[in-house]
Symmetry: C2
Subunit: 198 residues, 2 copies
DNA sequence: CTTTTAATTGAACAAGCGTTCAGATAGGTT
DNA sequence: AACCTATCTGAACGCTTGTTCAATTAAAAG
């Protein structure tokens, strides 16, 4: 039996997931048919329904598990100075997202194709992640390390800026991941920090 | 006859464009049928083909005209100090994009659904816009106003950050457009500027 | 009013869609 | 060998898709 149960029902088999991930990222959820996914896996379309109840669930689980992994991968470090934690967050966010460009793409692009209930779940998870960054910024504001008039806007600005890396970064490009992370951290640090002199 | 010719062939009638814009933004290109667009306009599906040769062209013209308008709306100000021009760019980018959230959404989300030839056109236009920001940053680096180790990365970072506003801004939200622009300009200015003291 | 021209319908086309399911196949256990 | 069970096929279901086009309606021109 391919169906298994975990703390989340983990219905979808890994081969089906990988194929769906690849195709959804490349062509979009609505543009990819179950038959195309099946062909990628090497089975007939009917066989997919041993691994997922329907196409919608396939998309939802991809997103949910991605956000679960994103949340699980980051450990809050409240004992550390805000600037240090923000640097860790910045580098972690870039590294994590560059390792999963397809999932990042899907998680941002296919929100429209989720059913309302599934959308609500995904939005909650995303909000939880944003709150972690906001907490760091608020801690830094309180400590006087950061100079920001609005922690919520700063959160959105930093996340948009960092996630944007996935849209242009190429492993065979001009700069290494480390170099990119260094440069972005430099900009983030300045953006949230105090005003320059003169 | 509904077909007209301009410097660009402007095939698509405005009512059809508006309906397609609305539906593509809400549900996605691949998820919206010609029959749905026709219903929104109030005609049968066949009538759409008086205004567009096919669905692909409908999408392409939406994107192309959006980017044309974006490029046309910004006048380069090389006589002005880089910091001043960057502030104008920042505020203009936010204002322009907040006025057209649907088009912005489509222009970023539906690139995958363009034919290769159409994609190349759109990417060229987008690159031209990015180059304008990069030119400002390079001018500021040369003048010593900005402290950036990589103008290309800074360009991508600033555009991602600014465009991200369209994903969460609501007219009935907590902050006005001006307030948002003020806060974002503050962060952009610091991000590209010199390091803070201490 | 008649003729010409433009705009639109409505049916049709071949193809593809998500999903179901009876039946075939394969692998492991007795 | 026979049995069991998990896996998968292949056909079928009803429905939707983008696009075409002869026939019709509406509007404009004479």
């Amino acid at each position: 039996m391919a169906r298994k149960q975990g703390s989340h029902a983990q219905i979808t088999g890994p081969k089906v997931r990988d194929a769906a991930l690849r195709l959804f990222a490349e062509h979009g959820f609505a543009a990819v048919s179950m038959r195309q996914i099946a062909a990628e896996v090497g089975v007939q379309a009917g066989a997919l329904y041993l691994y997922t109840p329907d196409k919608q669930t396939l998309l939802f689980e991809l997103m949910r598990d991605h956000l679960d992994a994103l949340l699980a991968a980051w450990r809050v470090r409240e004992a550390v100075p805000p600037l240090v934690e923000l640097e860790a967050f910045t580098r972690h966010h870039i590294a994590f997202h560059l390792d999963r460009p397809d999932l990042v793409f899907i998680a941002y692009m296919e929100l429209r194709n989720l059913s309302p209930e599934n959308f609500a779940v995904i939005e909650t998870l995303r909000g939880r992640y944003e709150n972690r960054l906001e907490a760091i910024l608020q801690r830094g504001i309180a400590a006087g390390t950061f100079d920001l008039s609005d922690s919520k806007l700063a959160t959105m600005a930093v996340i948009a800026m960092l996630t944007g890396v996935t849209t242009w970064y190429r492993d065979d490009g001009r700069l290494s991941r480390e170099a990119v992370a260094d440069i972005y951290w430099d900009m983030v640090r300045k953006a949230v920090g105090p005003n320059p002199p003169d």
